[in-house]
């Protein structure tokens, strides 16, 4: 049932559907524009299916499988037929790529479509490096020390670790300094942070502390949801560390104020 992604020919640009995610759509549209910019620079033709909403994780992680399946079908319907589906989030990307086949795989009508969409779905940065062969980005003047938080789903379900680091390393003025326990969860966890706020709060307290210890001016990640959590804790604790999605830096869009802070704060 695994679908072979279409072979790329230089004449016909890859037709990429951007699944912007509900969190980026609502909180951080800049990441959507950064994604479009990076994909177009990599030679892709980007389309944004207009009926897209959410990947369904709130229901899936709350145990409401029926609602998760209903939402997943809508996503599959909206994104079937493109060469690739690209998501600026490891978490939402993994939901489609890893979990949709589990939700819809047994359905005789939806199973084949779900497998097709799933196998063509990629997280943004790993799509650029692993599928498009991008190994450097334009130097757009971002400089200073940054640290990178490995979002859990991207890391463990999508195998994203070196890809963002590789592209960041191609920016001459940028130095990447790893934080302690970069692979440990920030405590967001979707509905988890609302249902168990004290535990989530303790987890992000540790995360903010390890970020501050690096002395980096900026913390980057591949998921805006983690970054909302991290940025909120950094500002609450009085740390002057900017939080940004890695795509903003790679696309040279750091003129926009960072997440949850005024520009130059």
């Amino acid at each position: 049932m695994v679908d072979t992604p279409p072979q790329h020919s230089p004449e016909a640009p890859r037709r990429v559907a951007l699944f912007v995610t509900c969190v980026v759509d609502f909180f951080r549209p800049t990441v959507g524009f950064a994604a479009v910019r990076l994909l177009e620079r990599a030679g892709c033709k980007v389309e944004v299916p207009p009926t897209q909403v959410c990947c369904g994780q709130p229901a899936y992680n709350s145990g409401d499988r029926a609602a998760a399946i209903a939402v997943a079908k809508d996503v599959v319907a909206a994104f079937d037929g493109y060469d690739h589906v690209v998501v600026p989030s490891g978490s939402c990307g993994a939901m489609i790529r890893v979990h949709y086949p589990k939700l819809l795989g047994d359905d005789p009508d939806w199973g084949p479509r779900a497998h097709r969409v799933a196998s063509r779905t990629h997280e943004l940065v790993s799509f650029l490096t692993d599928v498009c062969g991008v190994d450097s980005v334009a130097d757009l003047g971002t400089a200073g020390t940054v640290t990178y938080h490995d979002g859990c789903s991207g890391l463990r379900e999508m195998g994203i670790k070196q890809q963002p680091r590789k592209l960041l390393a191609s920016i001459p003025g940028l130095e990447l300094k790893d934080m302690l326990d970069a692979e440990v969860c920030c405590g967001f966890g979707g509905t988890f942070c609302v249902k168990y706020p004290d535990i989530s709060g303790e987890m992000v307290r540790k995360k903010a502390e390890t970020i501050a210890q690096t002395g980096a001016a900026m913390v980057l990640a591949g998921d805006v949801s983690c970054l909302l959590n991290i940025a909120g804790k950094l500002s609450r604790e009085g740390h002057k560390v900017e939080a940004r999605h890695v795509a903003e830096v790679l696309a040279g869009m750091t003129d926009v104020p960072p997440i949850g802070a005024a520009k130059g704060e």
């Binding site: 229901a59 409401d64 992000v204």
Partner: protein
């Protein structure tokens, strides 16, 4: 033991506010995580070994009856006895019966999570026996009348200060001004106190890490040697263990042992690995005169063959809890039952009921680190998700959460309405976010803003802006 898992939320809050616990939990990183990582890095076939162990245990679980009966026959052949216990009560009865038949008054005990599970100590003590835990961690929590907070490090929640205080209070015959600041002083004192007990006990009780069907042997792994003294010095050795511990052969046992210590403490092998086969034979220098194995089911057979069967592969190494950020925040006691952490979240609902344990599989960010380190490749997040779905289907979670998800799903299935609603909300919050671009407090977001600021949305949603961008591009004739 009586579970208190339903109070997980309150207990986790207390745990986070407990400075002693928080200090103790800091030892997990250097004490377990780094040591495991080093040991795993030194064994190139570690991943292949995990596959082998998973397949092995799956095979055993598919033929559990066969291997357990083979084990029983071999125990009997070697002169021992097997006692089958369907429930915790039956298991305690069996142990107590053996103790009473022997006229025992003093029982020494090695670390056994199954014994904790069935509440063995309180049952024996109620019958007038004196029970002395001989594992240092278990000894400490016995003095403090606590339950273990970790399956391989029962006193993980304590620092040496609390341990010294417990020793001062318990060992009243020793000079009150003795120095107990150093770990060495504490272990020396424990050894001194326990040595008399080892020699005086009529019955020694241990758990088992593994049961070997082909030989009828039980295996314990320890680092203190207390287990060997517990099982060899008294006249009677009782092994209290559960039906999921059996493996077919000695070779299979070695496959699991190669994973166990590395995953648990980062050792290649634990200091002592002791195989017991029957009582003392003619000509043996030492060993017990009677050898009993109490095989406890206590709910495991109802998990067998069901959607959470994979939890029965667990070898109780503790790696999942050692790498769990939730466990690192709240410790083991908050979970309210003998098996905490991710494996507890997957196992306990099947053992003590989902009504009691429903918080445990929900209190996870699904970060997946537990599954990443589990030597038996138990899909812990998947099993937690199964319990969440059961919670939802059986309407065990609060109505507010259910309606919230229902309302969200209803809206998410109506893209036009969804985009209109979120567009309005994003613009409103974008404006209210002001110059600082964040909220210190927001109605209905109190759980979030109690601990962190909420970043303000930028303003217009991406999809709204993209519609405008598409029009602009169409006018400009851009691609």
């Amino acid at each position: 033991m009586q579970p208190t898992s339903a109070a997980f939320k309150q207990r986790s809050r207390q745990a986070i506010a407990n400075p002693v616990l928080q200090k103790a939990l800091q030892n997990i990183r250097p004490g377990f995580q780094q040591k495991r990582a080093k040991a795993v890095a030194q064994l190139p076939e570690f991943e292949a070994l995990r596959d082998e162990a998973r397949d092995l245990k799956n095979h055993v679980l598919a033929h559990l009856d066969v291997y357990l009966q083979r084990f029983e026959a071999k125990v009997q052949e070697s002169g021992g006895q097997v006692h089958w216990a369907r429930t915790a009560g039956e298991a305690c009865d069996a142990v107590l019966g053996i103790c009473q038949a022997a006229g025992a008054t003093l029982v020494t005990k090695g670390k056994s999570m199954v014994a904790e599970e069935i509440g063995l100590n309180s049952r024996l003590e109620a019958a007038g026996l004196t029970v002395v835990e001989t594992d240092l961690g278990e000894y400490i929590i016995q003095l403090r009348h606590e339950m273990p907070s970790h399956i391989i490090a029962p006193a993980l929640h304590l620092t040496k200060t609390e341990i010294a205080a417990a020793f001062m209070q318990a060992h009243v015959d020793l000079p009150a001004d003795r120095p107990l600041d150093e770990p060495r002083a504490l272990t020396d004192e424990a050894r001194l106190m326990l040595r008399q007990k080892f020699l005086g006990a009529q019955v020694g009780i241990t758990g088992a890490n593994l049961l070997i069907a082909e030989t009828g042997s039980t295996v314990i792994v320890t680092n203190e040697g207390n287990g060997d003294l517990t099982q060899n010095l008294p006249g009677i050795h009782i092994v209290v263990t559960s039906i999921d511990k059996v493996v077919p052969t000695l070779e299979d046992a070695s496959t699991i042992l190669r994973l166990l210590a590395r995953s648990a403490t980062g050792q290649e092998f634990s200091a002592y690995t002791t195989v017991s086969t029957g009582p003392k034979r003619r000509g043996d220098m030492d060993g017990p005169d009677e050898f009993h194995v109490v095989l406890v089911d206590n709910g495991r057979s109802s998990i067998l063959g069901g959607p959470t069967q994979d939890v029965l592969r667990c070898i109780r190494c503790g790696a999942c809890m050692n790498h769990c950020p939730v466990y690192a925040a709240v410790g083991g006691h908050a979970y309210g039952w003998v098996v905490p952490g991710p494996i507890g979240a997957a196992l306990d609902p099947g053992m003590i009921g989902l009504e009691e344990a429903r918080h445990l599989p929900h209190a996870s960010s699904f970060c997946g680190r537990c599954e990443e380190v589990c030597p038996m490749r138990i899909p812990l997040p998947k099993i937690m998700r199964y319990w969440r779905e059961q919670t939802f289907t059986r309407k065990l979670d609060p109505a507010s959460a259910r309606y919230g998800i229902g309302a969200w799903a209803w809206l998410a299935r109506r893209p036009r309405l969804y985009h209109w609603t979120t567009g309005l909300a994003a613009r409103t919050l974008g404006l209210l976010g002001g110059r600082r671009r964040r909220f210190k407090w927001l109605p209905m977001a109190g759980g979030w803003t109690a601990h962190r600021d909420l970043p303000a949305p930028e303003g217009r949603t991406f999809l709204a802006q993209w519609r405008a961008e598409e029009k602009r591009r169409a006018r400009a004739g851009a691609p």
